[in-house]
């Protein structure tokens, strides 16, 4: 670990002002501290934002709910309102990490969680995400956990988290404060990026910006499932995960929203899938069509080829469960 300055402001203005020129925000630190020990992250200044507030869960005027950026994953998952009206979010959070980690991890920090790519986390290896221009070691290396959607030769890393996948399905909005006190809102579905030509950028946060909260729109009801496939039943990142919020009326799907985790550089959401499901009667043909839409451009890189059939099987399992079709 390299020496760094440490500051702990008491208010947001001060924090966002500091978030420039080599300063890095730390909240729960569950990801950042590991990366600092590995020297994957080498901030010159660490700004601890744990005392700036932003730790409330509050209703919005429109029937939604606003989760402060510093609300811990444990608190969010256990909140009675979240559990009752947005159970998908609660389930996704509880599918991730461990109790101890969820106690520390925060809503804003979790959105900024970095990839678990073996090569990104090892500074002896070339990695375009860590050091742009050095190449992607995973492309022809060990890539069992890597992306099959939206990747390119620059980077095949995945966004590994669970919470954000549920937020994609729930169409959440990320609230961001800028250094000049201006604030903006970004749909979470637009918050993370695909690698493109800039794999070093995980999301659209600009220098000096800080996430202040996440807003969920009014509850959508229906069946809400989070399915996380992994060989170890806890404390493991997903091979494939699916968040599904789906409502049935008179034998047909009246509303559907699906998002997919550990498949791409960002949680994956495809409007065509939601549209194809909405208004349709559940059937294996429909579910196969959904899988086709999801995977039509999927590309494996060797060891992760299995994620393509795994995602097909898993989305069908989730849709059968959510629609009450037989398993």
């Amino acid at each position: 670990m390299r020496p760094f300055d440490y500051q702990r402001p008491d208010g947001l203005d001060h924090a966002s002002l500091l978030d420039r020129d080599g300063a890095t925000l730390i909240a729960g630190g569950t990801n950042l501290l590991d990366l600092m020990k590995l020297q994957v992250e080498t901030p010159e200044t660490l700004v601890d934002i744990n005392r700036i507030g932003l730790d409330k869960i509050e209703p919005t005027g429109e029937g939604g709910i606003r989760i402060g950026a510093l609300v811990s994953n444990s608190t969010c998952a256990a909140d009675p309102r979240i559990r009752a009206d947005w159970p998908l979010l609660s389930r996704a959070i509880l599918a991730g990490a461990s109790g101890q980690l969820r106690n520390k991890a925060t809503t804003g920090g979790n959105l900024c969680q970095r990839t678990r790519c073996y090569y990104f986390m090892n500074i002896d290896m070339p990695c375009n995400k860590r050091e742009p221009g050095t190449g992607c070691s995973a492309l022809n290396g060990r890539n069992r956990i890597h992306a099959v959607l939206g990747a390119n030769e620059n980077c095949i890393a995945t966004y590994p988290g669970d919470m954000a996948v549920a937020m994609y399905a729930l169409d959440a909005t990320v609230e961001i404060a800028g250094p000049d006190k201006a604030s903006r809102s970004v749909r979470v579905r637009d918050f993370h990026r695909l690698p493109g030509e800039r794999p070093e950028l995980d999301n659209v946060l600009e220098a000096g910006e800080v996430i202040t909260g996440v807003t969920l729109p009014a509850p959508v009801g229906g069946t809400q499932l989070y399915r996380k496939v992994r060989e170890r039943s806890s404390y493991a990142f997903a091979l494939v995960s699916i968040a599904a919020a789906l409502r049935m009326e008179e034998g047909a799907i009246s509303r559907a929203s699906l998002a997919f985790g550990s498949m791409a550089h960002k949680p994956w959401h495809d409007l065509r899938i939601d549209a194809a499901l909405t208004g349709a009667k559940p059937s294996d043909a429909l579910f196969d069509h959904v899988a086709d839409l999801l995977l039509e451009d999927a590309e494996g890189y060797g060891e992760n080829d299995f994620k393509i059939p795994l995602a097909r099987r898993t989305v069908k399992a989730v849709l059968r469960e959510a629609t009450g079709a037989s398993t």
């Binding site: 020496p3 090892n122 290396g141 060989e231 039943s233 898993t314």
Partner: protein
């Protein structure tokens, strides 16, 4: 003042059952448990040392080549940095278990990615770690294209040095003539011991004597390994390992931290602490080799094996003699006069392969027992019945008898406790929602060894006792069981027996390894106590069979006298010595057992969850029911890891380990482990040790992954021959949904 027993004959005296205290075998809690869970127990790196500096190893980022230069100037100006050391006395590899001499030491000749090449010492750990990362090293790397980095690239396979090749009869003919034959090849991936406490050492040098607090399993060998590495006399090296936070083989020999801390302390003249990072624990110490195993089973129409073949391929670094003895249990477990057993090894440039818990059987038994399940299916004989029909009268190659062997009883007791149905073994019959449910079983077998052991026991004038040996407790319960043995023999509550371990100045024990610790050290304690009893008999003028020691009193001829009264101000100190003898060669000795498990396989995702697991084990005398069962449970947890998740993943291009931490190398977590039902089958084995106890520390791993493999087949009809059995392998075989 000592008593020695050489085990040339089975020890039929069964002393412990004659004693009156009644503590032996009881499920006593581990004495040091509360200290460990409350943080009071002091592990190697935690010993206070004033003015200690901190060293961090610098490890190679090439798989073969040489260090051309180390630019000390690149870090010496950094705050707190004291030294950059790349010394010929450091070690480039860990010592193998029981080596008793220095391992390969040329740290500047790189043979694997992760090899220590230098140690950077600074005032603080953080300064040392930063400097270690920044240290500029120039390598002259061999062309990766010409290196053999992967087993699949190896062209030269040599016969393994330490495993006997058996070529008996004509196996191909037996296979051709067999009523039922199986010829199948299985693969296992590399495993890491992944102990919770990383390897760590704190060395102090006074100009003549070196004192090292380290996390080590076998101090008697470690002393010589370290002294030889440093060019010191063994008398001038003092090792202390009172607590070891798990070893599982990776701390059998000295690890690179031990030599590096010692060299640095000697150079700087102040204490130096070196703790391996979690990543270094994974890539700089020991791996279990990956294996490829061909099993050939030739059975007659009754399922009785006439031919038996087990051939394995393993790997290690050049110059290492250790080769995973994959066929170790295959040599004695099943019959078959036409017989081929062989282990071949290739030299590849991956980190050192060595002993990981139950070297040999851990991977050999899971493949063998998966093959036995295939034979059971092919022959239409129930899996338990097939195994009961294949318990040989005498060792199939050496023609010697078995010592006590409760395999049949384990198979029956385990089957009954589990509710096993040996008759209907049709696969894919039971479905619960998305999940296929199935059952599987396997035999457990692990060789039994004892080693030369000494222990000192002192009966104190106040009627308490002190046991002292350099034996270690690596979490197994050594402190507790040695106290129980002395308590039983001397008629004391174990709470009145102080057990001192893990100090190389104490009597020479065998160390913890090969499941031999309790039966060897425990026998030495028993022998020392016998000598104390003899002296008490002399004092009382009675024979040993007439002396009862119980609750701190000596009783004979209707007289009852307290020990302090009898001792009258003196202590009695005796040294007990155990020597292995002819029973080693006269009997085939092993611990046995049987696993039964039920698994659920998700028909959609290929995820496998173990729903319940039972194990019945015959380990000779049980010294402490709780610690023995805990060893078996721990082993069964390892079975789940070996079956479903554990795999060291090396980059095939450069040989580096990619999943070098506990986030990506997946050992089972609590949620993966169901209730584990452990049954101890009553047994005494007089040929195994004077205690009539056998090894238990490793038995629980030996075969259980095969039971899970068999249960997966029974659940969903997919017969996998590749461990670990991950979802990707299952969905490739499962039908579409």
């Amino acid at each position: 003042m000592s008593k020695s027993i050489t085990l040339d004959q089975p020890d039929e005296r069964n002393l412990l059952d004659r004693m009156a205290q009644g503590t032996i075998g009881k499920p006593r809690n581990r004495l040091e448990g509360p200290d460990k869970v409350s943080g009071v127990a002091t592990y190697a790196a935690e010993f206070p040392a004033s003015n200690a500096a901190n060293g961090v190893l610098v490890t190679a980022t090439i798989s073969k080549g040489e260090v051309v230069s180390i630019d000390e100037g690149s870090v010496m100006d950094m705050p707190g940095v004291l030294a950059v050391i790349s010394d010929q006395r450091m070690i480039a590899r860990p010592a193998q278990g029981g080596a008793g001499e220095a391992p390969v030491q040329q740290v500047r000749q790189v043979d694997y990615w992760g090899q220590p090449v230098a140690v950077v010492v600074a005032e603080s750990f953080e300064q040392a770690r930063d400097a270690a990362r920044r240290l500029k090293i120039t390598y002259n790397a061999d062309d990766a294209g010409e290196l053999v980095l992967n087993p699949e690239d190896a062209k030269v396979w040599e016969e393994a040095p330490d495993t006997e090749t058996v070529q008996q009869g004509a196996l191909p003919q037996a296979m051709a003539e067999a009523a039922h034959a199986i010829d199948a090849t299985y693969t296992t991936e590399g495993h890491n011991s992944a102990p919770m406490e990383p390897h760590a050492a704190l060395a102090e040098w006074d100009g003549t004597k070196l004192t090292v607090h380290a996390s080590l399993q076998m101090l008697n060998y470690n002393i010589d390994e370290l002294a030889d590495s440093l060019g010191l006399d063994a008398e001038n090296v003092h090792l202390l390992s009172p607590y070891v936070g798990g070893g599982f083989g990776s701390k059998l020999g000295i690890s690179p931290d031990v030599a590096a801390a010692s060299v640095a302390a000697m150079q700087l003249g102040r204490p130096v602490r070196v703790v391996l990072s979690r990543q270094q624990v994974f890539h700089s110490v020991i791996r279990r080799t990956e294996t490829t195993q061909r099993l050939r089973l030739a059975a007659d129409s009754d399922g009785r094996l006439q031919g038996f073949g087990h051939e394995a391929k393993v790997t290690n670094l050049p110059e290492e003699e250790f080769a995973e003895p994959v066929t170790q249990a295959s040599a004695f477990l099943y019959p078959g006069q036409d017989r081929v057993l062989k282990v071949e090894m290739a030299r590849i440039h991956r980190m050192t392969a060595g002993s990981v818990r139950a070297p040999g059987e851990a991977v050999g038994m899971q493949a063998l027992e998966a093959a036995m399940d295939e034979l059971a299916e092919k022959s239409g004989i129930g899996p338990v019945e097939l195994r009961l029909r294949n318990i040989p009268e005498r060792h199939p190659s050496d023609d010697i008898p078995y010592s006590s062997r409760r395999l049949a009883e384990c198979l029956k007791a385990g089957a009954e406790a589990f509710g096993w149905d040996d008759d209907d073994r049709r696969p894919a019959q039971r479905r619960e929602g998305e999940w296929w449910i199935g059952t599987g079983m396997a035999t457990a077998a692990r060789i039994h060894n004892i080693a030369k052991a000494e222990a000192s026991v002192t009966l104190m004038e106040d009627g308490t006792a002190v046991v002292a040996t350099d034996m270690t407790d690596i979490g197994t319960g050594t402190y507790t069981v040695l106290g129980q043995i002395a308590g039983e023999m001397l008629g004391l509550d174990p709470a009145d027996v102080l057990v001192r371990l893990g100090d190389s100045n104490l009597a020479t024990g065998p160390g913890s390894g090969g499941s031999w610790g309790a039966s060897s050290s425990g026998s030495a304690v028993q022998i020392a106590c016998e000598a104390i009893r003899e002296e008490l008999c002399d004092m009382l003028g009675c024979k040993d069979e007439d002396l009862t020691l119980k609750d701190g009193f000596a009783i004979h001829s209707n007289r009852r006298q307290s020990l302090p009264e009898l001792l009258n101000g003196r202590n009695i100190e005796k040294l007990g010595k155990l020597e292995p003898g002819d029973t080693e060669d006269d009997f085939s000795q092993a611990s046995y057992g049987a696993f039964f498990t039920e698994v659920a396989v998700n028909a959609h995702t290929g995820e496998t969850r173990v729903r319940r697991m039972s194990g019945a084990f015959g380990i000779g005398r049980v010294l402490n029911e709780k610690t023995a069962k805990s060893q078996c449970m721990g082993g069964m947890v390892w079975c789940i890891g070996s079956a479903l998740t554990e795999s060291m993943m090396f980059d095939r291009r450069d040989g580096h380990l990619v999943n070098h931490d506990l986030a990506e190398y997946h050992v089972p977590v609590n949620r993966d482990v169901p209730h584990l039902n452990v049954i101890m089958v009553e047994e005494r084995d007089p040929a195994a040790s004077p205690l009539q106890a056998k090894g238990v520390g490793e038995l629980g791993i030996c075969g259980g992954a095969g039971a899970i493999c068999n249960a997966i087949y029974n659940a969903c009809g997919v017969r996998l021959r590749s461990f670990p059995m991950t979802p990707d392998k299952l969905i490739a075989e499962l039908p579409d949904i």
